[in-house]
């Protein structure tokens, strides 16, 4: 007898919630209880940031590659795509019996548009991580010729 089929869906989420409470209790134990047992002997050197044993140079607010920002934006677009594809995949067989090939072509068009989007990013060089110095390449070409 499979009892899980008797239980309504919200009740299953209650079980997940109880698990969340157990997880939080475990994590809270790990954060709070060792505090009672461990030694606390801070000093200035110990509390400075680790930089391979040297005095840290400058602060943590450094410049970083703008590529990370671009990748995050491209990710956002494609993640929404995944969000659309998963519900489509789940109802694919059921809808096929009602709508026929329309279900297939709809997603085909959707994926094609996104494929073109990916190709655009690719061609524009948004997926490159190493800067290609075309000026230097041209110079070396003219020098060698």
């Amino acid at each position: 007898m499979d009892t899980s089929s008797f239980i309504s869906m919200p009740a299953q989420f209650i079980a997940a919630l109880i698990f969340l409470l157990a997880a939080i209790a475990f994590v809270a134990f790990n954060v709070l209880v060792p505090r009672l047992f461990r030694p606390i002997r801070p000093d200035q050197e110990k509390l400075s940031n680790y930089e391979c044993g040297e005095r840290p140079i400058g602060g943590p607010w450094i410049r970083f590659n703008i590529r990370f920002y671009i990748i995050a934006i491209i990710f956002l677009i494609f993640d929404v795509e995944v969000l659309f594809i998963i519900p489509w995949a789940v109802v694919y067989r059921r809808l096929y019996s009602e709508l026929g090939m329309l279900v297939f072509w709809e997603m085909f068009v959707f994926l094609t548009v996104l494929g073109v989007g990916l190709a655009y990013c690719w061609v524009k060089g948004h997926l490159e991580w190493v800067f290609r110095d075309k000026l230097a390449e041209d110079k070396s070409k003219t020098l060698s010729s």
């Binding site: 009892t3 989420f13 475990f26 994590v27 940031n49 993640d79 789940v90």
Partner: protein, 347 residues
């Protein structure tokens, strides 16, 4: 069954499963060190207890009593919140994994060895596991250290990039079963290994195999394992986002990583390798209980994780991004197309 009984049953199941999961996390670290030792022709841990079996417990006790250092320049609240978030998110995903068939305890039928069989099972897992990127990024940012920040940036960009492939690679079981429910996906793979979605029937075998390969590769990247362990990259970033962490906070990041490994292996087992079903519906195979087969399959995948760690060097960062965006993502989109065509041909 009323709500009180349900709550009681789930508490009993959690009380059984939670220690088991934590124990397997502890012994996964032992297994990894032991196997890595063997791969490199050393012994691995062997002093603490027989075969070094008490090593994980000794490590746990040591980390528990260690001094906890929070750098003066760190953002204290976020610094403490980050490992909490990582660990809690890693654990939450365990709740919907079906470990075994219905079981009985003291004459009570407790249902499946699964804490919550929610109808959006797979989406729930994706939702929860992608939250773990907050833990990583907050840790890197709040440490007040430039190496941590760089590690966190790399890590989040990597997790983003491979999450897309991860989401698209599981399309075959979803399309064929027509449900996101983990128990439904497992039930569809009963009676023999030819029903597992890795060897999907007829024309589906290509998207099945390809989907499994894509899932496994992106799972390596999601769990920051070699060859995708760029966020840690000892030689250039010292230790990446958990550089400033010590004591139990460090242990929590460590545990979260291993819990994530177990989750990834369990999901691969559930979606592609038939979950807790035995490979053949014949006598010697059916003697073993469902949880044995589940554990065996998860063990094989975890062994593969460790084997890969011992075999491959680390990617360079541009290689990692090229691989994720220019090879895996187009392949994953092609796989969706192949799965749709395959299902039409298979009827």
């Amino acid at each position: 069954m009323n709500l009180g009984e349900l709550a009681l049953y789930s508490i009993v199941k959690i009380a059984i499963l939670f220690p088991l999961v934590m124990l397997s996390v502890a012994y996964l670290t032992w297994l990894e060190r032991k196997l890595l030792g063997r791969f490199q022709q050393r012994l691995g841990p062997h002093r603490v207890g027989p075969f070094g079996l008490l090593q994980p417990i000794a490590d746990g006790v040591k980390l528990f009593f260690k001094e906890d250092i929070i750098p003066t320049n760190a953002d204290r609240i976020l610094f403490i919140l980050a490992p909490v978030l990582s660990m809690a998110c890693a654990l939450m995903a365990i709740a919907v994994i079906p470990f075994g068939p219905s079981f009985q305890l003291f004459g009570y039928d407790l249902g499946r060895v699964q804490i919550a069989d929610v109808n959006v099972g797979l989406l729930y897992i994706f939702g929860i596991t992608s939250l773990s990127v907050y833990g990583v990024f907050l840790a890197g940012w709040s440490s007040g250290n430039k190496y941590s920040l760089l590690g966190a940036l790399r890590s989040s960009a990597q997790i983003f990039s491979y999450e897309l492939t991860l989401g698209l690679s599981v399309i075959i079981p979803l399309m064929a079963v027509g449900s996101l429910k983990m128990s439904g996906i497992v039930d569809s793979q009963a009676d023999g290994f030819w029903n597992w979605w890795i060897l999907s029937p007829k024309w589906l075998v290509i998207p099945g195999l390809l989907g499994f390969a894509l899932y496994l590769i992106s799972a390596f990247a999601e769990t920051n394992r070699i060859p995708f362990d760029l966020p840690e990259a000892e030689t250039e970033l010292v230790a990446g986002y958990h550089l400033e962490y010590s004591s139990m906070k460090f242990a929590m990041f460590f545990m979260a990583e291993y819990v994530n490994m177990i989750t990834a292996a369990s999901i691969a087992t559930t979606l592609f390798l038939g979950g807790w079903h035995s490979p053949l519906p014949l006598a010697p195979f059916t003697w073993f209980p469902g949880w044995f087969w589940f554990a065996a399959k998860v063990f094989v995948i975890l062994f593969f994780f460790i084997w890969v760690r011992a075999t491959f060097p680390r990617f360079r960062y541009d290689q990692l991004m090229h691989f994720g965006w220019k090879i895996l993502l187009p392949l994953a989109m092609l796989n969706v197309f192949l799965a749709a065509v395959g299902l039409l041909l298979a009827g």
